[in-house]
Symmetry: C2
Subunit: 195 residues, 2 copies
């Protein structure tokens, strides 16, 4: 069945590209590099895709969608401000631990994306950041959270969680769950009062 094998090939192409783009960068990866991973010639890839750019666009678009979905689920699972922070960070960390290649590409290849996909990615990131900021602001307004700057606390929390993608490895000294719990704790420390 040509169509089913072709669909499987498409998945294989994306998977190979995901690893190579994360490793060597978009411009550092050639179509021949991708083809070699599948044991075919570069020209054969064009039976499944339109362009190299299209592969990059698909990778970055799928990525933000799942992160925002999981974030919304985490935040709506409790009304307690402190607990929202904890769960949002646990979700944030788990997602980044699971998608190191996508994170690397998203951080390094924004300017390799053509419009309108590039702008769409930037906007999706902004929405995610705004959702965090609003969550923290609500907690501050209710007197449950405290911070010298809602905006900077947002950036600090997001960035420290993104960093997990850079060093976490399955099978290391801590499990994903342990890392998520510790970061949840660190996040709460960062935005709660001392008393």
């Amino acid at each position: 069945m040509t169509s089913s094998t072709s669909a499987a090939r498409l998945v294989e192409i994306r998977e190979a590209a995901l690893t190579l783009f994360a490793d060597k960068g978009f411009f550092g990866t050639s179509m021949t590099d991708i083809a070699d991973k599948l044991g075919v010639k570069a020209a054969s890839l064009y039976n499944h895709i339109d362009s190299k750019q299209e592969i990059l666009a698909e990778i970055t678009q799928d990525t933000m969608r799942t992160l925002i979905e999981e974030h919304e689920k985490a935040v709506s699972s409790t009304e307690d401000s402190v607990e929202q922070i904890r769960r949002a960070m646990q979700t944030h960390v788990r997602w980044h631990a699971r998608h190191p290649r996508e994170v690397k590409i998203g951080n390094s290849e924004i300017n390799s994306l053509e419009e309108p996909v590039r702008t769409e990615l930037i906007e999706a990131r902004h929405r995610y950041s705004e959702a965090w900021k609003e969550m923290i602001q609500r907690g501050v307004d209710q007197g449950d959270l405290e911070t010298p700057s809602v905006r900077l606390a947002t950036y600090a929390l997001l960035e420290m969680g993104i960093g997990v993608a850079l060093w976490f490895r399955e099978g290391g000294s801590l499990t994903e769950t342990e890392v998520a719990y510790i970061y949840g704790d660190l996040a709460v420390r960062l935005v709660t009062k001392r008393h």
Copy 2:
């Protein structure tokens, strides 16, 4: 004065490359792109440099050296554990606010570097990270600091400060000094006891 103009040209080449590599990536930047910025032909650059790779190597090597020097100065300026954390983070944040292009290149182009420079950069980063970890460990041992994980607190603190390079712009709503103070405060919160 061929030699003095030539030295100035070299600085201009590095400066142009710094902006372009940060913007478009090492492989996304051509020698023609760099030459265009200076109003010369690509071939003329080779009167000043040996290769494109050499420019990248020089950028990444100068970078870590100044960061580690400033860190050591900050830490040795006080014996108080909490104050060490605060000053180390202020220094870390100021440095990252001032070197956004170098940070971007350092994060995205490690695998574009050839050996042995690539390994040297990784080792320099490791030394910096270890210095932070030991500083935090000392504070914990003395009973001044508290954290669920010295290692993860180290990663979290480093990464949140690195993130400043991504969004800080001179002339924005907060000055570099204000951002450094707030991050110093956030860092202390992250690793001190509640009481």
